[in-house]
């Protein structure tokens, strides 16, 4: 998903992130409900002496929690591209930036290749001083094109 924010007509911010349809809290309830079902069955079995179901149910609950956590963590990752007259700032992270790259606006070059092969999504990157940074890694062909257009417009406005 691409969200475009304008600040005072001087700064454009593009927030690129994957779609996330359920909140952390709702996922907690989901994990809890699955845990109650699994452990409920296991405890019922244990009361009849079949206690060996419990460790398997426990392991499964741990796996469920880990999987939901990893899913949400991945979906929460954002790519923030901030452009103004002077610089392009690239940030990657979850709740706060883990990696920040500041590029000089004047020496930065946007490049995009849209391959004809339907199996390829294309490369969108910004480069400056011999270093290249891939953008929109969570996007597909069409969305990469859209991000490229948005970036072109934003950069064009400040050219």
């Amino acid at each position: 998903m691409i969200e475009v924010q304008e600040e005072n007509g001087k700064t454009t911010r593009l927030i690129v992130k994957a779609n996330q349809s359920m909140s952390w809290r709702a996922n907690l309830y989901l994990a809890a409900s699955l845990g109650v079902i699994c452990m409920g069955v296991a405890i019922a079995m244990a009361t009849f002496g079949l206690w060996m179901v419990i460790p398997f149910a426990g392991a499964e609950i741990i796996l469920i929690v880990v999987c939901l956590y990893l899913t949400l963590k991945r979906l929460s990752r954002k790519e923030v591209i901030t452009l103004n007259n002077e610089a392009i700032r690239l940030e990657w992270g979850y709740n706060q930036p883990d990696v920040t790259v500041n590029l000089p606006r004047r020496f930065s070059r946007l490049s995009y290749s849209c391959p004809e092969n339907i199996f390829e999504v294309g490369d969108l990157s910004v480069s400056a001083h011999g270093k290249r940074y891939a953008l929109g890694s969570s996007l597909n062909r069409e969305e990469k094109k859209e991000l490229y257009t948005e970036l072109q417009n934003a950069l064009g406005d400040r050219a």
């Binding site: 699994c38 460790p55 999987c67």
Partner: protein
């Protein structure tokens, strides 16, 4: 700023992401390392097709032996191994992986997600399967032979097998781990990766049925894992969970097994309901009749599947109240199942129907699954079940549910979505021939089993009384006819993969849903960014 200013706040690689950005890697390693849902779906589907022929070959060994009374071709121990492995392969190696393959291919496309929520876990959950089955099938070449106590693994019989027993348990654990990982992935995907506007009641029935199936798997696999581990400890570590001599109870294993085993039956059929609910509206050119009631009926079936397990055990003896409870709760399942059958028929009613191959298989499913369901209703009646128990009537019942039921739904799904997967249309004429030949032979194979079963022929026995000879001979002819007609299925698939008339994005005139909005073949990455689902968007 004269140079680039890079600040790393954390050791994460900002360029890192979980799936291949530029399309498939070249060569065979693509299939080993892939995390793309379509690749993994394809792997599951090919795996299940291969296992279908392995399990089918075992069935032909069984039927060849039963062609005439007396011991003809294989010794009884090997015959028992064949019946046991045929069931394990068909359940865990064919139907379940095929449905997981379809889930991998279709769920992200149907809900508008870029991929499964956990692509690497997805890769693992597939690649565990071939090794599990290699271990399982390798027991056939061991001194003690393959498992021969039936797929239900009842003690004390199963504890009397040789040292290959440990391999069987190990393989079952692997299969369970694979199933659990696949299920968690599906739950995480459906809950977390729907685009804005894709509410639960806008999801296609196939997605709904798989979500409920995943819940069933998550709830029951630890029970099965615990059960087989207790068998293992009884055999090798001196415990007595199921040994009467040590204070245990072998019947308790049956309770715990069927607490897993009966929901397992629905794990094998609920996704089939979802497939048929996708196909019939397309070829009837009408919306699915009673979508909401279909969802509630599926959930009701799943709930009821947890409280009917002891109908498999009426002959072990149980209090009258228990017999009545399990009889009536089993009969209750026919109510939501009847709702489904009614809705499929109502969807077809006054529809502008055409009969392409997927529709033929879907209609075949509705009719023949209902035959299997009705014989199931007969088996639910406790006093009747005590007569039918362990006869070929039971074999006829569950084969009608699983072969013209689950397997037909898989064939329908393959024909339905093959143009979307490959970009080519399959050979319609051959597809229709495949349907009619299969349908004739599948009935020649399984319908006579009702007669010999009602006449008292026991299952899992390589020899039988002379009065059953004629029907067994006919059933064996049906088995070979059905088995060899499946080579046509492989030919049609391979021919379609290699080329053919180009398919459009929509493929079928009456198709609805997000998967038909993307080109054929579907791009390697479908919806990296969520599509916009307006209230008017048709998603199911």
């Amino acid at each position: 700023m004269s140079s680039n200013d890079v600040t790393h706040h954390a050791p994460d690689d900002h360029a890192h992401h979980d799936h291949d950005e530029h399309g498939p890697a070249p060569g065979l390693m693509r299939w080993v390392t892939t995390t793309n849902h379509k690749d993994i779906g394809t792997l599951y589907l090919w795996f299940s097709l291969i296992m279908f022929f392995i399990g089918g070959a075992m069935a032909l060994v069984i039927r060849a032996e039963l062609f005439q009374p007396g011991i003809q071709i294989v010794d009884p121990m090997f015959f028992n191994s064949m019946t046991t492995l045929h069931a394990i392969v068909m359940i865990f190696g064919v139907v379940m992986p095929a449905f997981v393959g379809l889930a991998n291919w279709m769920i992200p496309m149907m809900i508008g997600a870029p991929d499964m929520a956990l692509p690497r876990l997805n890769n693992w959950s597939f690649w565990i399967m071939p090794f599990a089955f290699l271990i399982m099938l390798s027991t056939l070449f061991m001194d003690s032979g393959g498992p021969a106590g039936g797929w239900t693994l009842y003690p004390p019989l199963v504890l009397q097998m040789g040292d290959s027993f440990a391999f069987v348990i190990f393989a079952i654990h692997f299969m369970g781990i694979s199933s659990v990982m696949g299920s968690i992935n599906i739950v995480a995907t459906i809950f977390n990766m729907r685009p804005p506007g894709m509410t639960f009641m806008k999801m296609p029935m196939f997605v709904w049925t798989w979500l409920i199936t995943a819940y069933l798997l998550i709830a029951t696999i630890p029970v099965f894992a615990g059960a087989v581990t207790m068998l293992l400890t009884d055999r090798y570590f001196g415990t007595s969970f199921f040994s009467a001599a040590g204070g245990g109870d072998p019947v308790m294993f049956q309770h715990i097994f069927w607490f897993f085993g009966h929901p397992e039956v629905y794990i094998l059929i609920l996704p089939a309901f979802g497939i048929v609910s996708s196909i019939i509206p397309t070829f009837a050119r009408k919306e699915l009749f009673g979508y909401d009631s279909m969802v509630y009926a599926t959930a009701s079936i799943a709930f009821l599947s947890f409280i009917v397990w002891a109908h498999h055990m009426f002959t072990t003896g149980m209090p009258l109240a228990g017999e009545l409870f399990f009889m009536f709760s089993t009969m209750m399942i026919s109510v939501p199942t009847g709702v489904k059958v009614f809705n499929w028929v109502a969807t077809m009613w006054r529809g502008a129907m055409t009969f392409e191959t997927p529709m033929l298989f879907a209609i075949g499913f509705v009719i023949m699954f209902t035959v299997g369901g009705l014989s199931g209703l007969m088996l639910a009646i406790t006093p009747a079940d005590i007569q039918y128990h362990d006869t070929y009537f039971v074999v006829a019942h569950f084969h009608y549910v699983l072969v013209p039921g689950a397997i037909y739904s898989l064939m329908a799904a393959t024909y339905y979505w093959l143009p979307k997967w490959t970009g080519n249309m399959y050979d319609e004429k051959l597809g229709k021939m495949h349907f009619w030949i299969s349908t004739i032979f599948v009935n020649v194979l399984f319908f006579p089993m009702h007669f010999v079963g009602l006449a008292g022929m026991p299952r899992r026995i390589p020899d039988y009384s002379l009065q059953f000879a004629d029907w067994n001979m006919i059933a064996t002819i049906g088995a070979f006819g059905f088995g060899f007609s499946q080579l046509m299925f492989v030919y049609i698939i391979v021919k379609c993969v290699r080329g053919g008339e180009k398919a459009t994005g929509e493929v079928w005139e009456g198709a609805r849903g997000l998967e038909w909005t993307v080109p054929s073949p579907a791009p390697y990455h479908t919806f990296e960014t969520a599509p916009v689902i307006e209230p008017s968007t048709v998603t199911r």
